[in-house]
């Protein structure tokens, strides 16, 4: 009983601390010194940010590099607020939105002492958007709007676009866009795969294969006074329970990806005010993809029945206690202005407020389609959080309308292999993006061929037309209207893909760590320059 009360008090305190965080940070004076230890769930493959796609690269490696622009470090939760890192001022687009000119800071040095100029920035972005033969650039496809990038002098970088695009600035702010040294790239384009040499707040110290990566403070950092830490130690720990225990036993102060709700409660219960919690919706969606080329999923009625059977509002309440999911939303990040409002959403199949009515409709559709006792196997990723947990929940939901579903869990490589081979009836996938940029993020749902990750095997020229018009629309109201059409077509009318839940990011960490602010993506705002340790308070 007493424990229970204590626990509630802690939860209340936690709520308060999150709400008050904005003001609290402003008041406190950062302290210098200390080594920050944090755990990372996986080890990055290579060191080359341009090439890799995993967050496991961002957490230990991003602190070594500068970027051109980034989300506002003091307000990373904002979806539209971008700030300069290497540039001096965010530029106004010229030439009808087709030209962006950035001025680069003077006196910035790489860790080897060579100066960083606009030439390095231009070489970096040209490598990312137009990689030379034999070089992999993972996000090359996002740069369709870019025509050229050039550095007319040492302080100026000019980006010329093929057409004006609202997606450009968010793409530019991608946290993987590490600025490399042109001299190193000229020597060997692959040098950065196995070496680290940037201009960021921390200098690479060493890598212990499979165990950790360490860095120490960059004394010459151009943001004066930063970084506050003397250094950091990124420890790789694959098992989630062990990462939680590491925070519990103070072997690490934080894990930047996200813990399950129950672990948060346990940590708060055990450590009280030594733990602070920040939470946010996560720019990752759990997506259900019926394979249109497999019978009976070629029938939109059957596909619609699948989504109608899921009680998203109830599930959101239940699952948010055990899984890293929370919001039931459409294709657009919850709360983003481009998305459907709650009232509009409640009219979309699978979001009806009356679940019994929805289930009855699902049963009716199945019967009408001639499959009243539908039975199928769905392919899922063998990762508990949140894949198999939500999968287990869906099996139970479907059972309520007479569908017998079996789950086939595969480790990541096998899961991708199954999805790509089309060797599944229904697949569970995820759409995880970094900078919240709905125009690009929803491209995931475009038909097979157009979207590399559309595993549903279908064609829909109408959908492509809506998308293409939307991306080039310049009037925000028009854009919003088209996005609504797009969402309804994907989830309801054609029932190609369904968003099941949005992920939910929960970061419980040691209260002595200060200055860290949560963002909707575990890729963002991770250069650690604004963090400090205060063990006395």
């Amino acid at each position: 009983m007493r424990r229970e009360t204590l626990f509630r008090a802690a939860i209340v305190a936690l709520g308060a601390s999150v709400a008050a965080s904005g003001m609290a940070f402003a008041k406190e004076e950062p302290k210098q010194g200390g080594i920050l230890k944090f755990v990372v769930p996986a080890e990055p493959p290579s060191f080359d940010g341009h090439k890799e796609t995993t967050f496991a690269l961002i957490h230990p490696i991003a602190p070594f590099y500068s970027v051109l622009i980034r989300v506002n470090p003091d307000n990373p939760a904002s979806l539209t607020d971008f700030r300069c890192d290497l540039c001096t001022e965010m530029p106004k687009p010229a030439d009808g939105g087709k030209t962006y000119t950035f001025k680069i800071r003077k006196g910035v040095q790489f860790h080897d002492g060579t100066p960083l100029t606009a030439k390095d920035v231009a070489a970096t972005f040209s490598r990312i958007a137009f990689p030379p033969q034999g070089i992999s650039s993972a996000r090359k496809g996002q740069w369709a709007m870019l025509d050229s990038v050039a550095a007319p002098d040492d302080e100026t970088v000019v980006f010329k676009l093929k057409f004006p695009s609202a997606a450009f600035i968010p793409v530019l702010a991608n946290p993987y866009n590490f600025v490399y040294s042109k001299a190193k790239l000229d020597q060997d384009q692959k040098w950065y795969e196995t070496h680290i040499m940037g201009s960021g707040p921390f200098v690479f110290e060493k890598r212990e294969a499979g165990a950790r990566i360490t860095g120490k403070a960059n004394k010459n950092y151009y943001h004066k006074g930063k970084p506050y830490l003397d250094g950091f130690e990124a420890i790789f720990a694959k098992k989630q329970s062990l990462r939680v225990q590491a925070v519990r036993g103070d072997q690490a102060a934080i894990e930047f990806r996200g813990f399950p709700p129950k672990s948060r409660d346990d940590l708060v219960r055990a450590l009280g005010k030594d733990i602070t919690v920040q939470e946010s919706d996560w720019n990752c969606g759990l997506v259900l993809t019926p394979n249109h080329s497999k019978k009976p999923f070629d029938d939109p009625r059957v596909r619609r029945a699948l989504t109608l059977a899921l009680d998203r509002w109830g599930g959101s309440k239940d699952l948010s206690k055990i899984a890293i999911v929370k919001s039931a939303g459409g294709l657009v990040f919850p709360g983003h202005e481009l998305g459907l409002s709650k009232a509009e959403l409640e009219k979309v199949a699978g979001y009806w407020p009356d679940i019994e009515k929805s289930r009855a409709e699902a049963r009716r559709l199945l019967k009408e389609a001639g499959h009243p006792n539908l039975s199928f196997t769905f392919l899922n990723r063998a990762t508990d959080q949140p894949y198999t947990i939500v999968g287990t929940w869906m099996i139970d939901q479907w059972k309520k309308v007479g569908i017998t579903a079996k789950m086939r869990n595969e480790a990541t490589a096998g899961w991708f292999a199954g999805l790509r081979a089309g060797d599944f009836e229904v697949g569970v996938t995820a759409n995880c993006q970094s900078v919240v940029n709905p125009l690009l993020d929803v491209a995931y749902y475009l038909p097979t061929g157009r979207s590399s990750q559309q595993y549903g095997k279908f064609k829909d020229p109408e959908l492509e037309k809506i998308y293409d018009t939307m991306v080039r629309a310049t009037d925000p109201a028009e854009q919003k209207k088209l996005m609504g059409q797009y969402e309804r077509r994907v989830m309801d009318e054609q029932a190609h893909n369904f968003q099941v839940f949005w992920w939910y990011r929960i970061i419980p960490y040691r209260s002595y760590l200060k200055g860290w602010k949560i963002s909707p993506s575990h890729y963002l705002n991770q250069d650690l320059s604004g963090l400090w340790l205060d063990r006395d308070s």
Binding site: Q240, D266, K321, K399, N409
Partner: protein, 301 residues
């Protein structure tokens, strides 16, 4: 090599007393073995009468009672989906027994046939066969299991069957080796030569004359393998390579649940682990006393 020596002498069947008397005799002489046999019987009972023992559905979610402590309604508490743990453990005995018995049986039987055949023919065949067994013995189980499980996706078989297959493969060489070394001794006995001289076919000699004489090591290996198979099944499920949710299986119940909820809801972590331990313990005790009973070298003492 070393294990082989324990089983080098042929079987001796105990005298023909009545079944009950025999069992009682066994129990008196083997207290541990009897305890093991009891545990095994309890498990078999749970598996067969599962629907009568509990009224809950092992797979239905009920978030209203999620992670509840053991109580009158839920004797061992509930898991994160609100499913009754006792029910899942009772039904889990089915998975464990099915996998345990079938993989031990198939593995030991194939090993028996291969080991005897290899010993019977001898020469180059035997030498080659030995190398193949060496490779399988030394090969890491997890790759074999992963390969069997994922290649098996192409066939329309259940997870449970794939797991059985994955566990069976590494069992074969172990049984084959032990059986082979016993069979080598038997091959030297004159009546095998006699049988050959009579013109009996190879399969007939192997099956009729050699196999019955290596039943003791076969039974020892078989009983010892059941417990191990249950343990391997649990480990594979724990690593995500075994049976899949929502099938009730003990190893699977420990995956995720045990670690995440071990502190605030320890029953989720403790009971399935205890079930595995008791089951494997029971089979091992039982297997040990079978070994003692069948291996005359030890029985003399």
């Amino acid at each position: 090599m070393t294990t082989a020596q324990d089983f080098s002498v042929a079987d001796r069947v105990p005298g023909r007393t009545s079944w009950v008397a025999g069992a009682l005799h066994f129990a008196r002489k083997n207290m541990l073995g009897t305890a093991g046999a009891l545990l095994v019987l309890i498990m078999i009972f749970m598996a067969i009468f599962a629907p009568l023992i509990t009224s809950y559905d092992p797979t239905a979610n009920d978030f209203g009672v999620m992670l509840e402590a053991p109580s009158h309604e839920h004797v061992l508490g509930t898991d994160q989906y609100g499913r009754d743990l006792f029910t899942r453990i009772v039904y889990g005995a089915r998975t464990a027994l099915l996998v345990g018995f079938l993989s031990a049986f198939i593995g030991a039987t194939i090993g028996l046939v291969m080991g005897v055949t290899s010993a019977y023919f001898g020469g180059t065949f035997d030498l080659l066969f030995q190398r193949v067994m060496d490779v399988l013995m030394a090969f890491p189980l997890i790759i074999l299991a992963l390969a069997v499980v994922s290649i098996g996706d192409a066939w329309p078989v259940s997870d449970t069957f794939k797991v059985i297959l994955a566990i069976t493969v590494p069992f074969i060489p172990r049984c084959a080796r032990v059986v082979r070394s016993s069979a080598l001794a038997i091959r030297e006995i004159p009546y095998i030569d006699a049988a050959r001289a009579c013109g009996f076919s190879h399969p007939r000699i192997i099956l009729r004359h050699m196999v019955p004489n290596v039943m003791a090591p076969y039974l020892i290996i078989f009983t010892a393998s059941v417990g191990q198979a249950i343990l391997i099944e649990a480990s594979l499920s724990y690593l995500g390579l075994g049976v899949q949710e929502p099938t009730p299986a003990w190893g699977l119940m420990l995956r995720g649940g045990a670690e995440e909820y071990a502190e605030s809801a320890p029953w989720v972590a403790i009971f399935p682990g205890l079930a595995i331990t008791l089951a494997v313990f029971g089979f091992n005790l039982f297997g040990d006393s079978v070994r003692d009973a069948l291996d005359p070298k030890l029985r003399q003492m």
